[in-house]
């Protein structure tokens, strides 16, 4: 019961934040509502028993990535966006299309919800080890090569960002 109430509350906050992102015209307001979405998503991860993912969501997404976004918005002095012909066409064609697609997915889920079963609160604890411990074992044993490859990816991303955003010598 408590699980359902918490899920509904944080799910509604999530959806409200996403709608606000869509409705706001100034990028800084959209960025702040995206922070709200990410924060309530991390609480939903806690309900699913994924403490490590919830913590990383707050630290990496709501912390690092959104600070980067806000920093760039401030740096470029972005103002309120202007409506153009292109956005009206997108609204006319894209709006109904997205609504139909979402309706279809929701209808399918509701129809087949019996076959999916349920989600129990915080059941990721396995025989004495906690969630973070289990993830670490998996990450540094089975997924060691992908983990090392991501470090190379981040190195390349750093170099790319410096090259792209750095001052050009004339």
């Amino acid at each position: 019961m408590l699980h359902q109430v918490l899920f509904i509350v944080f799910g509604l906050i999530c959806v409200a934040g996403a709608i606000n992102l869509l409705a706001q015209r100034h990028p800084i307001n959209s960025a702040l509502s995206l922070v709200v979405v990410m924060g309530s998503l991390s609480l939903i991860y806690l309900l699913l028993g994924a403490e490590f993912v919830a913590a990383v969501q707050i630290i990496v997404y709501a912390g690092a990535i959104m600070v980067l976004f806000v920093f760039v918005i401030m740096l470029l002095n972005a103002g309120a966006e202007e409506r153009t012909r292109g956005s009206r066409i997108a609204l006319l064609l894209g709006g109904p299309g997205v609504a139909v697609l979402t309706g279809l997915i929701v209808w399918t889920m509701v129809r087949n919800s019996q076959q999916f079963g349920g989600v129990l609160i915080g059941n990721m604890v396995q025989s004495g080890t906690d969630n973070t411990h289990s993830i670490a074992e998996l990450l540094f044993r089975d997924f060691l090569l992908p983990f090392e490859v991501t470090s190379v990816l981040i190195l390349i991303a750093i170099m790319g960002a410096v090259v792209l955003a750095g001052k050009k010598e004339a």
Partner: protein, 106 residues
């Protein structure tokens, strides 16, 4: 106990809102933020399915959460490079409106 389908429906709604923001927004930074929203929606279904498979006693159930970890790493790298590209575009075009950035040549 919450049905798994609720989580998947929430994920679908968030993804759809991300797609609509991607289509409707004209500011390049907001478009980039809606991509992050879509990634978050997909992460939610990964974690929900990880919980589901954990209940069914699958040994690799936590690999769903490891996948979310990798998605976050790639999203961080993507944000750094993408925002650098936005800064480079703004330097040459002096605008953030995607309708005015429609030519490859200056």
């Amino acid at each position: 106990m919450v049905p798994l389908s609720w989580y998947l429906i929430l994920s679908a709604i968030l993804f759809a809102l991300g797609v609509s923001a991607f289509l409707l927004k004209r500011n390049i930074i907001t478009i980039f933020m809606s991509i992050e929203l879509m990634l978050n929606a997909v992460n939610l279904s990964f974690v929900a399915f990880a919980n589901y498979w954990n209940q069914h006693g699958s040994k690799l159930a936590l690999s769903g959460q490891v996948f979310v970890f990798f998605v976050m790493v790639v999203a961080a790298a993507e944000a750094a490079v993408g925002l650098a590209i936005i800064i480079a575009v703004f330097r040459t075009r002096e605008t953030l409106n995607v309708d005015r950035v429609n030519l490859l040549k200056l």
